[in-house]
Symmetry: C2
Subunit: 272 residues, 2 copies
């Protein structure tokens, strides 16, 4: 993705002190937002999740009003874009022990919107099952932290442009998420999504889909799912805040239609 | 720790491009070396391990002769120090997908040697058991990669200066390592150290202790260990390339003497 603008601790710039703990330990959290008409979508909810995640790793986040203002300034007047917000625990400390007085680093990166084929949204995508597994650690589960080497290894497993996403299992064989998306299945009209209490990232789009389903009194189950559940599903889809919802229509020989649950969730998302 | 010198891709400097994948994903590996009389200890072996780890995550390391030369230039004439070498997958790519043509970033950081009390080596240290657990993922086990948020959370659990190290268990309750060290026990003259095939970092000092024990025909077992094994041990010690070997003499109410196996390993290390 090509970088449009970068701001570090409120200053235009694209260089980071090499002692930053984000580099050394992945000691930080992030969120990725879709920017349209110069405004990041779901800004306040995304920032609230970012701050929740920061607190879960003991990182005291910066003043929210200041960060919000910086975000708005960065995005104003910009073309459609992706905004990545990173908070790290800053520099300093002695090895793994952080300096209690350290100031968190706030990094805002605005990228040009990647050109995703319209067919991904309309006709669905092909996926694969990745060999790289997700480790289980309830202490870290759900947090969008900067330790993402499992996703890097999973994404490196394929190069075929025809495969738009990889699905990841945990070390126990449970189906958890896409490499950069959350996963939903539909079966007999019930919406299913993996339990993320042991591993996985809880994206805002997942949360919004769950809310939307609930508002439309659609039956929802958050539970352990495996490959058999996937193969038995009537519909399958992946989602995140940048792509929205993409129907999954092929995994190896298995094909799914773009079904009514997927279409209705896409429509609700469009309206929201 | 206070930074003496920094070199990034061969240039003096202490700023890193904010798009570096080391920051975004912890997509890189590192090694920490002790520098004495301007020379990093066990340089070639450490670099070989660094390169092994890089290859295990699919990162093509830079020319070894070039990196060695940069290391030697950085350390020459410097006071006793700690050298941290970081290799990241560089900048670029599209999200988790790396750019196959990206050049790895090589970061050399020389820190003033921390002042560890001489008593730690001589009389031993007090440790605690950390609440933060290590996730299990054989794909990543043993690699010194930059995803170290578990260690950060574990180290944040205590502030008492009297406690010099924390011991970490995996999510299955097995004893794995110290927050920044490897762990050895001795029982009935047999040297024991945890199996690191599911999680943990394999440090060079651990490797050298295992070799040394083997050279002196001391019985060694690399196997699963738990808290009961720890409490039942005659001796306990932690090690890494910077501190060498520290006897562990206290955990809560349990005390251990600095025993003959520990002393003999320290002596062999001194001679080597």
């Amino acid at each position: 993705m090509s970088l449009l603008r970068a701001r570090i601790n409120g200053q235009e710039g694209s260089e980071l002190p090499v002692l930053d703990r984000g580099l050394h330990y992945g000691d930080g959290v992030f969120r990725t937002l879709r920017v349209e008409q110069g405004v990041p979508r779901n800004r306040d909810r995304q920032l609230a999740r970012l701050y929740d995640d920061a607190r879960r790793i003991g990182l005291v986040p910066p003043d929210a009003r200041m960060l919000t203002e910086e975000v708005m300034q960065l995005c104003a007047g910009q073309p459609p874009a992706v905004l990545k917000i990173i908070l790290t625990r800053g520099s300093g400390g002695r090895g793994y022990q952080a300096d209690a007085a350290a100031t968190p680093t706030r990094i805002l990166l605005l990228y040009a919107m990647p050109e995703y084929p319209a067919a991904h949204w309309r006709d669905g995508i092909r996926v694969r099952i990745c060999d790289t597994r997700l480790a289980q650690n309830p202490r870290l589960a759900g947090i969008k932290h900067l330790n993402r080497i499992e996703q890097v290894l999973a994404r490196a497993e394929w190069n075929e442009p025809a495969i738009a996403e990889g699905l990841m299992l945990d070390t126990g064989g449970r189906l958890i998420e896409g490499v950069s998306s959350n996963l939903f299945l539909a079966r007999d009209g019930v919406l299913l999504t993996p339990d993320l209490s042991r591993c996985g990232i809880g994206g805002l789009m997942r949360e919004m889909i769950l809310e939307s389903a609930s508002a439309y009194t659609r039956a929802v189950q958050i539970r352990d799912l495996n490959i058999d559940d996937l193969l038995a599903a009537d519909e399958c889809m992946v989602c995140n805040s940048v792509i929205g919802i993409w129907p999954v229509t092929q995994l190896d020989e298995r094909r799914w239609p773009v079904g009514p649950v997927t279409r209705s969730l896409q429509r609700q998302l469009d309206e929201a």
